[in-house]
């Protein structure tokens, strides 16, 4: 009888603990302003409204393309002193994305001191938007351990971005992801466009800027899904000058590929071979100016 009683107590305690964990499993520690996009249907299932998901590259992915064709310039980075001036949630989230991009840029070039400074800035801002749980002692130790290794620094920057994204997705904070993505994308493009000294027709960096139209279009559509969320309509409005500049870029026939096969020798599927986004010198100059204009507006807190 005593053994049965003990078993019952243990089983009950285990069950109660598990149920408690279930209920708290999706709650984030720290201060959050959770803006769920779920609604509960009458049968008790949580149904996500969004059925189109926009898969956007990280700043590290964007810089990975161009880093070996650019020179590093810390003058292009958004001053970390400004981080204290961002008061409202929209500016905090957007500029969190800006600083994530700055950190990725510094990491891409192995600039440890700058990368570490921006990581501290991001960490400081994370508390304001409920992401401080990302910045654990384990992450700090990891950074200290891999100071001199450029590839590891890039990996840390990418892993941090991944953890940020995962934490926000776990808590259905899609509008925050969208704002951070918007800030990060604008900063990446500001840095890349200002790293190009002169337009050249077959410059791959220039073509990359044109190709980012696809990413920008996805970003605008992603934001467009959430216009009922605070700050999103404003951000869409802020990005309009860039949208207008990109609308002038046309799809043209690319040079016919000498390879007429649909798969390469290793079985990979070859796609998109006969159309490309054309960017003229006027297009490039207009885009560069508009991106700079929007970036200033987003980072100067005006």
């Amino acid at each position: 009888m005593k053994l049965i009683s003990k078993s019952l107590v243990v089983a009950s305690a285990a069950t109660l603990l598990t149920i408690q964990a279930c209920n708290s499993g999706n709650q984030q520690t720290g201060q959050t302003t959770q803006t769920p996009t779920e609604e509960t249907t009458s049968d008790g299932f949580d149904e996500i409204e969004q059925t189109t998901f926009y898969l956007l590259p990280s700043p590290e992915d964007i810089f990975a393309f161009s880093a070996d064709k650019m020179k590093y310039s810390s003058a292009l980075l958004n001053s970390f002193d400004k981080s204290e001036t961002y008061i409202n949630t929209k500016m905090q989230e957007i500029n969190f994305g800006v600083y994530v991009a700055d950190m990725a840029y510094a990491a891409a070039f192995g600039e440890y001191k700058d990368a570490a400074k921006y990581l501290q800035t991001i960490k400081g801002m994370s508390g304001k938007i409920g992401l401080e749980s990302i910045f654990t002692q384990a992450l700090a130790n990891r950074i200290d351990q891999f100071i001199e290794n450029k590839d590891s620094l890039k990996e840390i920057a990418n892993d941090t971005y991944f953890d940020i994204k995962k934490s926000l997705e776990s808590n259905n904070r899609n509008s925050t992801i969208a704002q951070i993505s918007a800030g990060g994308w604008v900063e990446c493009m500001y840095i890349i466009t200002n790293s190009i000294e002169k337009y050249a027709e077959n410059d791959p960096n220039i073509q990359h800027i044109a190709d980012e139209k696809n990413v920008f279009t996805s970003l605008m559509q992603y934001l467009g899904q959430m216009t009922d969320k605070p700050g999103i309509s404003e951000t869409l409005n802020d990005l309009k000058p860039i949208a207008e500049a990109y609308s002038k870029l046309q799809m043209v026939d690319a040079e016919p590929s000498k390879n007429t096969k649909t798969t390469n020798t290793e079985g990979a599927i070859l796609i998109g071979g006969n159309k490309k986004i054309e960017i003229t010198e006027d297009n490039f100059n207009l885009l560069k100016a508009r991106i700079a204009q929007v970036r200033q507006q987003l980072t100067d807190n005006k």
Binding site: I4, S7, L8, A11, S12, A14, T15, T18, I19, C22, G25, N26, D43, F45, D46, E47, I48, T51, T52, F53, Y54, L55, L56, P57, S58, E60, D61, F65, K69, N158, Y161, F162, K166, S170, P204, Q207, H208, A210, D211, N214, V215, T217, S218, Q221, A254, S257, N259, N264, E266, G267, A268, I269, L270, I271, G272, G273, N274, K275, K276, I277
Partner: protein, 202 residues
Amino acid sequence: MKTLKKILLGLTIASALCSASYAQSSCATFLNMRKAAAPYRYNTASKSATCFSGKKYEFLLPLTKGNEYRLQFFASPVFNNEVQVKIVDMNTSETIIDLPGHVENGMEPKKGNTILQDYMDSKTNKLVHPFFDIVPQQSTSLKIMIEIKDHYDYTEEAVLNEWGEATGETVKKPIIPEGGPEVVKGCFGVYITDKPSDTSSF
């Protein structure tokens, strides 16, 4: 004694159900256990989402010329691989992939005929989860359309010959409940890795 055993059993089942429910609700971490196979590296555009049977979903993925992408798809067991995935190149509107989650009864899964079912790789003699390598010759976007089919339970039915006699074989048949198929919830993940394209040169 019997009553106590019943209570213990009930508590254990409740606990197990709760754990399963919690596991299912964490779709954001559904792809966490996946590792990129060198020389590919993890692409942060990868995503997993909570999905429901009987519904359709789209994932829009921009691809950059100069990279080679490897796409893999994963679904919660609750869906029974009852999924159809179609991928369209938005530059050309060309369908690149249109495959089911599992092959038809009696067929063998192999490279290129299923999107979810593991198959035996004849070269390595190992089970491989399907993957699709894509090289954009110009930057473009992919529209990845996922259809999660209606969920059914299945029963084994005897196959009869033309005279109505059992042949000894059986076939799986869905049990369609009176009120229509049950809606189940699970995770669907698009796992993306990439590497610089071998054909890129600047």
